[in-house]
Structures are given as structure tokens and as C-alpha cells.
């Protein structure tokens, strides 16, 4: 299956590789940046092949739990893990918002020197996915950046309407 969608994010960080690696593999540092502006709590972080990273993200009264199982660790070069949503007991479960979201996503992060800076490449690929999961993931990836800006535009229009209606 070569036509499975991949989500790829490339970024160059202005720091030497040793520092970037430490920010990814020291849980105290990792929980300071992992997650989009939410409170992140790392409940367990065992950086060995087969070891687990149990992660909680909190915003308001809501919590989002995920479990990462490390598969490959090459210091300062590569991290590979299986990424899943879990229930409150850390059992892998379907995404409550989107039942066909892939249960397990193979995550690969590579680190490369670029002068004094470091290139980080992150890849997400559904693992052992059903056809429905692949379709769902492919659909979501495909909608990014095009359908969604217009989704925002429609919501913005609507909020303006509602606010002017209130005044």
C-alpha cells in the first residue's frame, strides 16, 4: 500500500541537535511544549523500545489522553512510536469525536544537522488501518488548508451576524 496519506511536518530549529534531542526526550522539557497551548501532563515516560509515554492534555474541564509506545530510539537521530487515543484507563480506544480516525498512528521523528541548526521532520502514517480509517485520515489531511479556511470564514460571518443581531 503505497498510496496511504502521510502527514509530514518539517521544521528547522535554531539550536544544536543535542539540545533539540533533549527537549524531545526529557519529559520535564517535553511537557512544556507538547500540545497546542494546553496544559500537558506526562504521567509516564519510559524511553526504551516497548516503553510507554502516557500523556494527558487538559483544557477547561476536558482531558485528552493518549498513549505512545516507543518502537525505535536512535539517540539524536530518530524516534519512532505508535500513537493512540486512550480511555481513562489508558486502553487504546476510538477517537470520541471521530470514530473512524485511525486507532494507531505510526509517528517518526528524525533529527538532522543543518549548520548550527537542526532539521526536524515529523511523519504520521496510519498503522494497520481499516479502509474506513485510511479514508478518514486521507480526507482530513486533504481538507487541511483549503476547505478549512472557508469553514472559518463562514463561522466568522456568522458570529458577526449574531453579534450585530444582539446589539
Amino acid at each position: 500500500m503505497s498510496n496511504i496519506s502521510e502527514y509530514v511536518l518539517d521544521r528547522t530549529f535554531d539550536a544544536p541537535r543535542e539540545l533539540v534531542w533533549r527537549a524531545w526526550t526529557n519529559p520535564d522539557l517535553l511537557q512544556r511544549w507538547y500540545g497546542p497551548g494546553v496544559e500537558t501532563i506526562i504521567h509516564k515516560f519510559n524511553l526504551v523500545p516497548g516503553g510507554l509515554w502516557l500523556n494527558e492534555m487538559k483544557w477547561g474541564d476536558k482531558s485528552d489522553l493518549s498513549k505512545m509506545e516507543f518502537k525505535e530510539i536512535v539517540p539524536q537521530e530518530k524516534l519512532v512510536w505508535h500513537h493512540s487515543s486512550t480511555d481513562a484507563d489508558w486502553n487504546v480506544c476510538a477517537n470520541p469525536m471521530m470514530p473512524d480516525w485511525p486507532r494507531v498512528i505510526l509517528t517518526t521523528v528524525t533529527f538532522e544537522d543543518s549548520g548550527q541548526k537542526t532539521n526536524v521532520k515529523l511523519t504520521w502514517v496510519p498503522l494497520d488501518a481499516t479502509e474506513a480509517e485510511i479514508a478518514c485520515f486521507t480526507g482530513a489531511i486533504g481538507h487541511m488548508g483549503k476547505g478549512w479556511e472557508s469553514g472559518y470564514a463562514i463561522l466568522d460571518e456568522m458570529f458577526v451576524e449574531q453579534q450585530s443581531a444582539r446589539q
Binding site: A23, G60, K62
Partner: protein, 136 residues
């Protein structure tokens, strides 16, 4: 970053307002409904207020049955509702479904990007600590 601000906005205000009624939303259906540019244009029209099939069809040079088919897809996805007890059956946007869908995808889209922005900050703090001779 505009996306971060929007993500936070939707996390903290919209999602509070709709208080996770959205867990019943079929996002797969919403995604495929929104994939079509004509349907997005119809939603944009309905953001200005409810409209009948005739009114929606006018700017599109499209037959009424074609518009009706698009409305059915949008209705099944929960993005609009139709008045049943009126002759002209005007279509109306359902804001909460739209908000939930956009919120979910923007969250996913912003996830790693926003995290990487924060990683930038952590790395510069680490570099500052190293120059001071302390190690984070």
C-alpha cells in the same frame, strides 16, 4: 500565529457554548459535505441568514434539483436544517455542527505546528541557560 489564536478561541469559547453536544456529530459526513466548493458557497450564503432553494440557486446558475441534492448532503451531515412546516422550506445553517467540525480539524492541523512554536521557545530558554552555565 492566527491559527493558534483561533484554536484557543474555539477551544475556550465555542466549545464551552456547545458543551460537547458535538460528540454526536458525524465528522466524517461533515468532512465529505464540506469537500465540495459549491456546498461551501451555499453555507456561506446561509451564514447571511436562512434562504429558500430558489434564493440559493439564483447566483449559481444551477438547477433547483441540483441545489436540492446539495442541500440533502448538507442536511444529512447536520450542517443545515430545513423548516418543515413552511411551503418554501427555507434552509438554515446549524452553527454548532460547523463549529465542532472546524474546531476539530483546526485543532488537529494546529497541533504539531503550535507545539513546534512552543518548542522554539523552550529551546531558546535552554540556550540561554547554557550560556549562563546552568543546564535545563
Amino acid at each position: 500565529m492566527a491559527v493558534d489564536i483561533r484554536t484557543n478561541l474555539y477551544n475556550f469559547s465555542v466549545m464551552e457554548q456547545i458543551s460537547y453536544t458535538s460528540s454526536t456529530v458525524n465528522l466524517d459526513a461533515v468532512f465529505s459535505a464540506l469537500a465540495d466548493p459549491t456546498r461551501r458557497a451555499i453555507l456561506s450564503r446561509l451564514a447571511d441568514g436562512q434562504a429558500s432553494v430558489n434564493e440559493i440557486a439564483a447566483p449559481f446558475e444551477m438547477s433547483q434539483p441540483a441545489v436540492s441534492r446539495h442541500l440533502k448532503v448538507l442536511e444529512r451531515a447536520g450542517l443545515i436544517e430545513r423548516e418543515v412546516d413552511e411551503q418554501r422550506r427555507p434552509a438554515k445553517l446549524k452553527a454548532d455542527t460547523m463549529a465542532a467540525a472546524v474546531e476539530w480539524l483546526s485543532e488537529f492541523e494546529a497541533f504539531w505546528g503550535a507545539s513546534f512554536d512552543r518548542l522554539d521557545d523552550v529551546l531558546s530558554q535552554m540556550k540561554q541557560a547554557e550560556t549562563r552555565g546552568t543546564k535545563l
